[in-house]
Amino acid sequence: MDEERLITALKAHVPGAAQELVSSYGDRLFRSAFLLCGNEADAEDIVQETFLQAMRSVHRFRGDSTIYTWLHAILLNLTRHYHRDRKRIVCDNELVGREVSPADESPSPLDAGAATSALLKAMCRLSDAHREVLILRYYEDMKIHEIARHLGISTGTVKSRLHYAIGEMQKLLPGELNLFGASGTEEMKPR
């Protein structure tokens, strides 16, 4: 079912439309929620609340963005409430420390798994604002102006937060793991 038909079906409360929505976007939202809030149990609750709010406000969706972007905006808002209530992120140690399936092209699977685990741990220690831009940029593949619109901030602020977040990640990651691939450990010049 394409997006337009799905939205029409949701607005008309067609049976099965909600199931289609959850099937299409549930896992993707769950992964993003996990990265944003740091543990699986809270990510499940946030995803459930996201779908609930989406269904309640679907009559206001005008199709200005994709369904995923709309759902993700709701999820991001809920995650902020979650952080406000919790004060600090609670990372799921089992998850960030669990075995990670290596990338196919990785020459050293064990290193790749450890690097990913270390990366997730380091992200947990970032502030909410810096973690958000990092995830939107490098996980959701959003462009700078899209992130700015999504978060309601200027493009300059997005770049500034990104620059700071990358610098912090470099400090938090172990020395042997660098974010710049094989090209070296040289720190990025200030922009």
Partner: protein, 192 residues
């Protein structure tokens, strides 16, 4: 374009969202600046490295079947929009503010009318007291008359008579429009 301006547009250059003119200027700058070329390479490698590792770290994550079922159950029971579920509440939410605004506006206009146009106030008073007595048609009457008093008394073998006068003042209100006159509301006797 210099290094500072290029670095300000580094993210847009790497993601390919610069305008054609700015992109050409950036390419010209890159052709002669090794530091900025290195910055572009780092940004591209960072994007690739972070993206791969984040995907790798989450690719096994999926909503558990029981969580999926729970979400669908919740959506079935609670996802009906407010307007459909509670029409009266929905209508009230929709019209409460406009209604309150209209009432406030009427109150302000009424207050201004009453204070700036006395005729309106008189009319309102007449209506308020229109229980058979119209104030504007009432005539107040005060009657004052002298009542003679003739007295006799005996002084020895003589009979002495005296004539005195007592002024009586009575207030009366005359109602027009077929109303029955009421009894004098006040009567006062003043001896002379």
């Amino acid at each position: 374009m210099n290094c500072r301006r290029f670095q300000n547009r580094l993210y847009e250059y790497a993601e390919g969202t610069l305008s054609p003119g700015t992109r050409a200027a950036a390419d010209q700058h890159l052709a002669r600046c090794g530091i900025c070329r290195q910055a572009v390479r780092q940004e591209q490698q960072l994007a690739q490295s972070l993206s791969e590792r984040l995907r790798q770290g989450t690719k096994t994550l999926a909503l558990r079947p029981d969580v999926r079922r729970r979400i669908l159950t919740v959506l079935e029971h609670k996802s009906v929009p407010l307007m459909d579920r509670e029409p009266l509440v929905g209508l009230w939410n929709r019209f409460a503010w406009p209604l309150a605004g209209a009432v406030c506006l009427l109150l302000v206009v009424g207050f201004l009318l009453v204070n700036h146009f006395p005729g309106v106030r008189t009319h309102r008073t007449e209506i308020a007291r229109s229980d058979g007595r119209d104030i504007s048609s009432a005539i107040s009457i005060q009657i004052s008359y002298c009542a003679p008093i003739y007295k006799f008394r005996r002084e020895g073998n003589l009979v002495v008579d005296t004539l005195s006068c007592e002024t009586v003042v009575a207030n009366e209100t005359l109602w027009t429009g077929g109303q029955t006159p009421v009894q004098p509301t006040q009567e006062k006797r003043i001896p002379l």
